[in-house]
């Protein structure tokens, strides 16, 4: 049984879960009408000799705290969530660098939930979500919302790796509307992350700097078209989501992201009616880090493309796990 907050009836849990397709064991079912349930802002690692952040993480000290949102807008008032009043809202500041620049502090927001795994197998994240820029000016802002993404941060006895998908909505004002998956180009650690100190002092010999593949949501060179050294386009990965015609009409979308931690492979991404077959695709494997054995973290992020705040709303989310199935023949192309 999932861990259930007080205040939710068994009937409510069953009804809420029926809109998901979880694997065998549900580790978390978070309906944000009950609280943030362990979803927290990502912060960098801290120095051991002073109350501060290690140099390599100073850029990532303002990833913005998530909040419980009623989705309230100037014209329509409170929109509410898909079920109930509240969703989890991830909000950037009103700032952004150009797509080819490093992420700007505050223009990129990230939240995560931290777990550990009991056995390697399939792990799946599902959510009902929507997204918008802020309703603070005329214009629907469809070309001002750069991207949102879903990222697993996994570690076993040998490797740390980050299977992740990103919906690149717009870059430098040009609408893209396509899905990408994380797989780093073959670059040096210096090129990938600057190889600055990111770990605690006594670990520095084993994990100085972020190796290629680590934290692909911001490391790696970025390009004017929104591409990065950390992500590749999913084949036939263009998808027009339901943005709607005003800044305050929000439609809830379904997303399901499945990976296999036994094989260290992607499996598939589903968004609404489209399912993208990613079986056999391997994320970039980095050496294991000290102190994060059995890591099972799931992160969400949102990036602004202009000086307009961008929001990702999550009505509810499920993290589930199950055994790896025996190897099936790889399907050709994408299924609908």
């Amino acid at each position: 049984m999932p861990s259930v907050s007080t205040g939710r009836s068994a009937q409510g849990v069953v009804a809420g879960l029926s809109k998901f397709r979880p694997l065998q064991t549900i580790l978390a079912y978070d309906d944000f009408d009950e609280g943030l349930n362990g979803w927290t802002e990502l912060t960098g690692n801290y120095r051991q000799d002073a109350m501060g952040v290690v140099p390599g993480h100073e850029r990532f000290t303002d990833l913005r705290p998530p909040m419980l949102s009623s989705a309230t807008f100037p014209f329509v008032g409170t929109h509410g969530s898909m079920s109930g009043i509240y969703s989890m809202k991830l909000a950037t500041r009103a700032m952004a660098g150009r797509a080819e620049e490093e992420i700007r502090k505050g223009g990129f927001a990230q939240t995560l939930k931290r777990l550990t795994w009991q056995e390697r197998g399939q792990v799946q994240f599902e959510m009902w979500f929507t997204y918008k820029p802020e309703a603070d000016r005329p214009g629907i802002g469809e070309d001002e919302f750069r991207a949102f993404g879903v990222l697993w941060d996994l570690q076993d006895d040998e490797h740390r790796y980050f299977p992740a998908v990103r919906y690149l909505n717009a870059a430098n004002g040009v609408v893209k509307q396509k899905w990408q998956f994380a797989q780093a180009r073959k670059v040096s650690a210096e090129a990938w992350s600057g190889n600055q100190e990111t770990s605690i002092t006594e670990d520095r010999k084993s994990s100085w700097g972020a190796k290629p593949g680590v934290d692909p949501q911001w490391f790696g060179r970025r390009y004017p078209d929104g591409g990065t050294e950390g992500f590749r386009d999913i084949d036939k990965g263009h998808q027009r989501l339901c943005y709607n015609e005003t800044i305050d009409k929000i439609n809830w979308h379904y997303l399901r992201f499945l990976v296999d931690s036994r094989r260290r492979e992607y499996v598939e991404l589903q968004c609404n009616e489209r399912t993208f077959d990613l079986r056999g695709v391997q994320p970039t494997l980095a050496p294991a880090y000290p102190r994060i054995w059995s890591l099972l973290n799931l992160a969400l992020w949102v990036e602004a493309d202009t000086n307009r705040r961008c929001f990702l709303f999550v009505d509810s989310a499920v993290i589930s796990v199950g055994p790896s199935p025996s190897r099936a023949p790889r399907r050709k192309g994408m299924s609908r």
Binding site: T72, A91, R93, A135
Partner: protein, 111 residues
Amino acid sequence: MKRVHTAVLERFGTFSEDFATEPYEAGWAEEAIFFVRVDAVEGANPTLSGQVQVSPDGIRWVDEGTRLPVVEQAGVTFTRVRHFGNWLRLAYRVSGGHARFHGTIYLCLKG
């Protein structure tokens, strides 16, 4: 059991000019405390004054009437507010010669 949540609105910030914290939705809560933790102060006769603001939409803001005690040195100060609707932020004014405040701002919500 009540729900409680602390959001860090500014972390290791440097405040040298007038500013406001980012909009934060708090409609589920009945009471709020803004904590301002100042770690270091620079400049001549530096003062940091702040007041709570509310908003119907998170975009247009108006003073709620509650003020933060004036900050002149390192330490923790706070101010309490209730009956605030959905949106909260803290607007600041920094004065003094080359005044700079280094610190962290928390919003603690309960309801």
